[in-house]
């Protein structure tokens, strides 16, 4: 099952309260993605902690069907 950008966006937004995500497929292959995620929950967290929250949405799928998920995270729009 190849994940789609819409699916990834929806899962991030459903799992992280108040998040809005913009997801692009980097090479059109359905396995290298970039996500720009804005969530109030990120306030006060280090980049590492912010990225871990997003990676946690996908668990073992990262490195599996989702070969790469490049992240930019922001606390506020």
């Amino acid at each position: 099952m190849v994940p789609t950008t819409a699916e990834l966006k929806q899962r991030i937004e459903e799992s992280i309260a108040g998040a809005s995500a913009e997801v692009v497929d980097l090479n059109g292959g359905g396995d290298h993605f970039r996500a720009i995620v804005t969530a109030p929950k990120f306030a006060g967290l280090s980049r590492i902690e912010q990225h871990r929250l997003v990676y946690a949405v996908f668990g073992p799928e990262i490195g599996g069907p989702i070969h790469a998920l490049s992240l930019v995270t922001r606390a506020a729009a």
């Binding site: 980097l26 090479n27 292959g29 290298h32 980049r47 590492i48 990225h51 871990r52 990676y55 073992p60 990262i62 490195g63 599996g64 070969h67 790469a68 998920l69 490049s70 992240l71 930019v72």
Partner: protein, 138 residues
Amino acid sequence: MSTPEQQISTAIKEAIAENDVLLFMKGTPEAPRCGFSARTVAALETLGATFAAVDVLPDPRIRQELSALSSWPTIPQLFVRGELVGGCDIVSEMYETGELAEVIGVEAPDEAPDRAPVASEPGAPPLTIENNLPGRAS
């Protein structure tokens, strides 16, 4: 008797403790096997940073044990003085804000570009053939 996994985990912890700047990557700094690893190496080299590198590809258990230790699912992973700094995205972002030079304790050379070096064209697939090793051995 410890299991091979425990031995790998111990070796990883020792490597992190013994090297001030340590990069876990796919391939070597001279021959990176993934665009993200290549980009991270390029950021470090542009700053003239001295760093040690561990290739995770020879044994999938290295990556498995590393991710278990660091709670970080992807490669590369940069450690500075025992702490995980980040992967390619964070390292690139910190390069651009000047934090990377600061954290490593180097002075960015005057000729270092403001933008993080791009090892491959934006959106291009990784530089080399995909790694077919099981990333997460079960």
